[in-house]
Structure formats: structure tokens, C-alpha cells
Amino acid sequence: MVVLAEPRQVVAPGELLAEGDHLLGENSYKIGNQIYSACVGLLEVDGNRVSVVPLKGGYIPHVGDIVGGRVMDIGLSGWTVDILAPYVAMLPASETEGPRGPRRRDLSEMFDVGDMVMAQVLSFDRTRDPLLTAKGPGLGKVSSGRVIQIQAAKIPRLIGRKGSMISMLKRETGCQISVGQNGIVLVWGRSPEGERVAVEAIYMIEREAHTRGLTDRIREMIAKSPRMEEEVAKQAP
């Protein structure tokens, strides 16, 4: 197989990526012997597999994803949740911790319209809307902290290879950060400055996700933040 575009470079839809014997990865398609890109993204070549990592795009649910969702409506047996996908999700009452058989009044006491919940996608296919569960560690109603929203396509970069970026962020800012695959990110800081810097860092990652040396630049930005220096000094023994 001959790769015709440069790996990790930005490719456009319809751009010729490779020719010859190959495996088709995500966001690419073939005509005869040739593989083309189907979106704007970064070319990735993994052995024989050619794929394009999109730089932008909405969130499409996958089973097992952790997502942040906003409760839109309360039905007879559960909640309708906006998970920032082109499909509205359902969270059945049976998929929450708590006593069985809640009535409508009790449902709104659990999650009310407008509440943010962390949930996991239980099932989703082309013919039915996503089904969620709020059972499990770290899932359920979010009552405090800062909620921000970035493009879902940038979440892998926020997490980093084997979680390297997100661990560094948590450590350097002293914040708890919960990441939803759909772009919802929750930040709780021990200090308002830590929280502010964490939020700034997350937006910076979103903007510069496709560049090199990002992890170091983020670490530098956090360390240089004026009040962070005080925070670090305060925390020193």
C-alpha cells in the first residue's frame, strides 16, 4: 500500500489518502483501489489501516460511552435527556439507584427538568433512540461544580494517550474533572483559581487539539498563571 498524504496532517473530504492493499478505518471510503477521506481531519496510518480522526463533528452515541446530559422532560417511567446528539436519550427510572416503583412526584425529586446527570449509554442503534443508565460509580445527578461544553471530537485529545493529558490537568490544577464522551466536562476545584485555570486549559486544548507539543504548553500555561503560583506556594508544607 502506498500512503499518499502525510500522516498527522490535515486532510479534506475527497482527498486521496492511499492506494493499494489496505484496511478501511473510520471516516474513509474507497473507490476501486484508492482510499479517500470523508471528512476534515488528521490522517492516521496504523499498519495497514487508514483512518481519519475528525477535527470537528457532532456527537454520535456509542454503547458504553459516559455522557453528560440535561434532563428535558419527565415521563411516566423515566426522563428524557439531551445528550447533545441528534437523538434524544431516555433514562428509565429502573436504571437509577433507589427504591423501586417511584411515582411522578418522586421522579422529579430525583432528577428535575434542567438538572445535569452523568450517565452511561446502555443501548443505541439506527432504529431506536439511545437508552441510558445512571447506575454505577460516578453516575447520577450533578449538583455542584462548573459545567462546560467542548466539541465532542476533541474529547480524545482532552483525555490524552492512556489518560496522560487529563491526569496532568487534574494534578496541576488540583481539580476533579469528569469527562463525558459527548463533550460535557465537569470541573470541581478546591479553589476558584484552580477551577478557572482548569477551564481555560480545557478550552485551549479544544482550540489546539491538532497541534504538537500541546501537553507541555498546557502544563506551562497552568504553572505560569499568576494566582496558581500563590496556590502552589500556599499548599507547600
Binding site: 457532532g58 441528534p86 471530537a153
Partner: protein, 254 residues
């Protein structure tokens, strides 16, 4: 201000009213990601045309009954601002705008991989801020960039350009005057990889040889525009990359 009724559309040297040769495109400027709220957007200037295209989607279908079970619905609105033409145009949609909304949508349907998003809509808005002939073609060129900018998977970008006839000669990329006073107008949209013409309209009179020659002229222009579209898309990211990586220190390989 330009003379609205020039005596001739071609001068003795065969040059057009704006000084172009018969086979010359007007100057084109493309910008990607112009708007903040839209999922994808692009802006084109082609001659005096100024056109903004934006995409929202894929998103939930509203009302639900318009959704299709196995693919996304594409909705398109071509609309001219009241101040975009010489005589102020009422903001209410005209029959021409409704027809153009349809043909523009149909020029982009072949490229969007709609079966990846069943039961959703992809909404496309083409706003003509200033119009000077060939706005539906420039609108398609911008619209396909806006779709790509939104991250919607597609086979390839679609570019469009019109060819016309002025004083018996085939001319590329007609301006408004040439369109109004010329003898034919042939707008074409084209997908280069697939070799597919996805918009084709004609009004006026063209012989068969004129049509063939004109079509080829338009397709060549579409290929040029296609290259510019690709560059504009990639430029958006390379600018951010340059600013960011300029501060980069060499990576230490442990």
C-alpha cells in the same frame, strides 16, 4: 458607479466589461468557520458576490414526521438580503429563491453520506449578502465548505461555476450585467473525484457544440475552485498550528 447598460459586453480586444478574458474567473476569496453559533460555516466573495453559508446538524428532526428512517433529511434555504441587489428586494421568499433552494440542495445530496445519520436533519442556509450574478454557484461552493466545516462526512467537496454566452462567445463566470444581457446561462456544479455533475441548468440558446465546450469550461473552473476550497479548509487549522507550535520547545525523547 459602473454603467448599467454598456453598449457592448465585449470590446475590440475581446475583453469583457470588467476587463476579464472570456475564460477568466472573477477573483475568489474563501473563508471557513466564519460564524460562532453555527455548527459549520463558510464565506465566499466571487467578484462582487458576498455569500455566507451555514450548517446546523445533524440534529433532531423537528417536526418529527419529516424524518426519514434510514438517512438524514437535508433542508436548504437560499435567501437574498434586501440590500443585496440594486433595487431593494422584499425579505419574503420569492419563487426564484424557492427554486434555487431546491436545486442547491440537490447539488449537494450526492456527496453527503446521509445514511450515517438516520432520523435527523441537516439544515443548510445560504444567505446572499450581495449579489452580482452566479450567486447560486458561489453559494454551492460555500455551502459544501460549510458542510465540511461542520464535520459532516461527505465523499468530496462540491464546487460550482456558470458559463454563459455574450455576443456569441462562450464566457466563464458571468457577472450580473452579462447574465441579464447575454444569450445563455449555464450553471454547473461538479464533484471531481466522482466525475459527477450535480447541478445543471440552462436558460437561453446553445447549440450542441456550444453546450459541450461550455460544460468543459465550467468543469475546469470547478476543478480550480475545488483546489481553493481544499486550501481554505486546511488553512483554518494550519494558522492555529503555526501560532501554537511557534512556542514549542523541542520534544525530549526519553
Amino acid at each position: 458607479m459602473q454603467n448599467k447598460h454598456p453598449e457592448k459586453l465585449l470590446d475590440e480586444k475581446g475583453l469583457r466589461v470588467d476587463g476579464r478574458r472570456l475564460d477568466q474567473l472573477r477573483p475568489v476569496r474563501l473563508e471557513v468557520g466564519t460564524l460562532d453559533k453555527a455548527n459549520g460555516s463558510a464565506y465566499i466573495e466571487q467578484g462582487k458576490n458576498k455569500i455566507l453559508a451555514a450548517v446546523y446538524g445533524p440534529r433532531e428532526a423537528h417536526p418529527k414526521h419529516i424524518a426519514l428512517p434510514d438517512r438524514a433529511v437535508i433542508r436548504c434555504r437560499y435567501h437574498m438580503a434586501p440590500f443585496s441587489v440594486d433595487e431593494r428586494k422584499s425579505p419574503a421568499p420569492s419563487r426564484r429563491e424557492l427554486e434555487l433552494s431546491k436545486v442547491i440542495r440537490e447539488s449537494l445530496e450526492p456527496t453527503v453520506l446521509t445514511d450515517l445519520y438516520p432520523r435527523t436533519t441537516i439544515d443548510l442556509f445560504v444567505e446572499i449578502l450581495q449579489s452580482d450574478g452566479g450567486s447560486r454557484c458561489a453559494g454551492i461552493t460555500a455551502a459544501s465548505l460549510a458542510l465540511a466545516d461542520a464535520g459532516i462526512p461527505m465523499r468530496e467537496l462540491v464546487a460550482a461555476c456558470a458559463v454563459g454566452k455574450v455576443q456569441g462567445q462562450l464566457a466563464l463566470d458571468l457577472s450580473d450585467i452579462e447574465d441579464k444581457q447575454g444569450e445563455a446561462d449555464l450553471p454547473v456544479a461538479y464533484m471531481p473525484n466522482s466525475n459527477l455533475v450535480t447541478l445543471l441548468q440552462m436558460d437561453g440558446i446553445l447549440t450542441l457544440p456550444e453546450f459541450e465546450k461550455g460544460l468543459n469550461m465550467a468543469i475546469e473552473a470547478c476543478k480550480t475552485l475545488h483546489t481553493m476550497q481544499r486550501e481554505a479548509l486546511k488553512n483554518k487549522y494550519s494558522q492555529i498550528r503555526e501560532v501554537a507550535e511557534e512556542k514549542e520547545e523541542p520534544e525530549v525523547i526519553a
